[in-house]
């Protein structure tokens, strides 16, 4: 109980400080507007947390309230239904379907795979590893865990096995927790997952890291910023204000934890800030390695890698997971950020 209280107090102080500072630092670029930002309690959503804690949203004239979700899919539905305004998520079959139905639009890029930066890992269960699955080339005939058909795990597994010229069998297990359980008990053979989950499990001997996703999918646009079509089309000023503040948060995050140009103190300050939102059930010392390990680059200026997005869209179509008529025009609004 005391821990919670302390954290709430910290949050309050941070929030109050940000609000109090606002009028002194800069004039809002946009009239004070309240928006709801959907978020998962993952390090990959840190840019929004930083922008909030450091007052960048307030600077932009946005009064932000976070809506926390347990999974990406309900968050996408919340954007479609108007219960949240902006969120960050992986490109999934659901997101494409919702975009085709005119409900959502991808407006920017967030997390990217980048060679040289620690990214998502390809992992194998102990039994599979002992049986010779020590590299992705040995995956022929093995099972690959996915949350659901059309999830990013499905995309990665398909691309990796395709690149190695092997067939894998996809095993839908709904949740990350289920997948970890199934891997630990050797019920599935392989999976790909963000480093802050992969590394501690591998260190504990539960699974084995057998490769990097970045080697197969360089510049993979893992997550994107998206909003409702209405916001993208009719609320230009608000959307721009959000993206600008988000990009400032992303820049701070990259500097502190990815490029590490802010030194030890800068990194520690960032970890503490993120800990207000992520791994709140652990002590700071226990959460620190997971936060540091999970730091992947968030695109500068929320730039969007449309080549990667298009590759993903084409893959969904080729697998028959989305309507064959689905188009980039319906999925992405490229008018907000730089594209790559």
């Amino acid at each position: 109980m005391t821990k919670l209280t302390r954290r709430q107090t910290l949050g309050l102080i941070g929030g109050t400080a940000a609000l109090a500072a606002t009028p002194l630092i800069a004039k809002p670029a946009y009239a004070n507007t309240s928006i709801k930002v959907g978020a998962l309690r993952f390090t990959s959503h840190a840019a929004s947390f930083v922008a909030f804690e450091r007052g960048y949203f307030a600077d932009a004239g946005l009064d932000v309230e976070f809506e926390f979700f347990q999974a990406a899919q309900p968050m996408a539905l919340a954007i479609a239904s108007g219960d949240a305004d902006y969120a960050v998520t992986a490109i999934s079959g659901a997101l494409v379907s919702l975009a085709e139905r005119g409900a959502t639009k991808v407006i920017g890029g967030a997390l990217s795979e980048e060679q040289g930066i620690d990214g998502q890992k390809i992992v194998a269960s102990n039994a599979a590893f002992a049986d010779g699955v020590t590299s992705p080339a040995a995956l022929a005939g093995r099972t690959w865990a996915v949350t659901q058909a059309g999830s990013s795990f499905h995309y990665m597994g398909s691309k990796i096995s395709g690149a190695e010229g092997v067939e894998v069998e996809f095993q839908p297990l709904q949740g990350v927790g289920n997948i970890i359980g199934a891997l630990r008990s050797d019920q599935v053979d392989a999976w790909s997952i963000v480093p802050h989950i992969a590394k501690p499990l591998a260190a504990g001997g539960a699974i084995n890291i057998i490769g990097d996703v970045a080697d197969y999918l360089p510049n993979y646009q893992v997550t994107t910023v998206f909003t409702s079509t209405a916001n993208a089309a009719e609320e230009r000023a608000k959307t721009e204000a959000f993206l600008a503040a988000f990009a400032r948060g992303a820049a701070d995050f990259n500097a502190a934890l990815v490029d590490k140009t802010e030194g030890e103190d800068g990194a520690e300050e960032m970890v503490q800030l993120i800990h207000n939102y992520v791994y709140t059930d652990r002590e700071l010392d226990a959460a620190r390695p997971a936060i540091v390990n999970g730091a992947m680059r968030i695109n500068e200026g929320a730039a969007l890698n449309t080549t990667s997005v298009e590759d993903q869209l084409n893959w969904f179509k080729s697998e028959g997971l989305v309507d064959q008529a689905a188009s980039m025009e319906n999925l992405v609004d490229t008018s907000y950020v730089d594209t790559m």
């Binding site: 899919q73 996408a76 539905l77 479609a80 999934s92 079959g93 659901a94 379907s97 919702l98 139905r101 005119g102 409900a103 949350t147 659901q148 058909a149 059309g150 999830s151 069998e169 996809f170 095993q171 839908p172 297990l173 709904q174 927790g177 289920n178 359980g181 199934a182 008990s185 019920q187 599935v188 997971l321 989305v322």
Partner: protein
């Protein structure tokens, strides 16, 4: 009193004989007793159900065609029908239906059979009752879906965990229904059996079990419906084929047409199971008045 009765009866006869053109003119007016026994009785009108169905679907189709109902809210019924056509033509329907029906049949057969056996034992033996009723009461409210990850460790990610989930889900309501049914067997019939010195086995086989049949059948209805519900849960983990997996995949892709097609298949499965059960029940329980 008797006089009045006679008088009015006479007047009635007279008026009937005289016809309508000569109204009765006596001082006391005759009134018909008002009928007040109506209502509170439902009778079946066979055509209303289908008509309501058709009207609902027509309104739904019209709404989605005109955009009055957005395509985010509901799919077009015609598109759902199209999805069915596709499922049928490509043979995917049976690709999904057969594994699901197998899981449903094997899982609920195991669960219901075990449930009846344990239920009868609880009904017959005080020690079993004292020992197992609390256990069953403890298992009953557990959402079986929560145990799925555990089942995967115990029974493997293949068919084993799916059978186990459906079996456990159908087992508990079957136990409760069965021992309730055994408790409700007419005690005078059992005493009759004893008074004719029937053996214990004869009393159980010829009196207790047939007497518990109506209760067992109503338990079956509940259990099998739960079995169908659990089919979706069972196919959450490690299933690429099956109606449940199909629905879950459609949901995760936000593909409303397939989602609805899958849900309709499940609901049709429920109707068919209920109908077949009704036929069997009519045969087996022919003796019921």
């Amino acid at each position: 009193m008797a006089d009045t009765t006679h008088h009015s009866l006479g007047a009635q006869t007279e008026r009937t004989a005289a016809g309508a053109d000569k109204p009765h003119s006596a001082g006391e007016a005759n009134t018909t007793v008002r009928y007040r026994g109506g209502g509170f009785r439902t009778h079946s009108i066979f055509w209303v159900g289908p008509v309501v169905f058709v009207v609902l679907i027509a309104v739904w189709e019209w709404g989605t065609q005109t955009g009055f109902i957005s395509n985010l809210t509901l799919p077009k019924p015609s598109d759902v029908l199209g999805t069915f056509g596709e499922l049928w033509r490509t043979g995917t329907l049976f690709e999904h239906l057969i594994p699901s029906l197998t899981r449903f049949a094997v899982g609920s057969a195991m669960g219901c059979l075990a449930g009846v056996i344990i239920g009868v034992m609880i009904g017959l033996f005080s020690h079993v009752r004292a020992g197992l009723v609390p256990v069953v009461a403890a298992i009953f409210p557990i959402p079986k879906i929560a145990l799925l990850p555990l089942f995967i460790i115990w029974f493997g990610i293949g068919e084993g965990s799916k059978y186990a989930l459906i079996a456990l889900g159908t087992f508990t309501p079957m136990v409760v229904a069965t021992y309730g049914a055994v408790d409700n067997v007419d005690r005078t019939l059992i005493r009759m059996g004893q008074s004719f010195s029937l053996s214990w086995a004869s009393i159980v086989r010829k009196i207790v079990l047939p007497g518990a049949m109506p209760g067992i059948f109503s338990g079956l209805r509940v259990s099998l419906a739960i079995g169908i519900i659990l089919l979706v849960a069972a196919e959450m983990l490690g299933a690429r084929r099956g109606i449940g997996a199909y629905i879950l995949e459609a949901g995760s892709l936000y593909d409303l047409e397939r989602l609805f097609a899958g849900v309709i298949i499940l609901s049709a499965l429920g109707v068919v199971v209920n109908f077949v059960l009704g036929l069997i029940e009519d045969r087996v329980l022919r003796w019921r008045s």
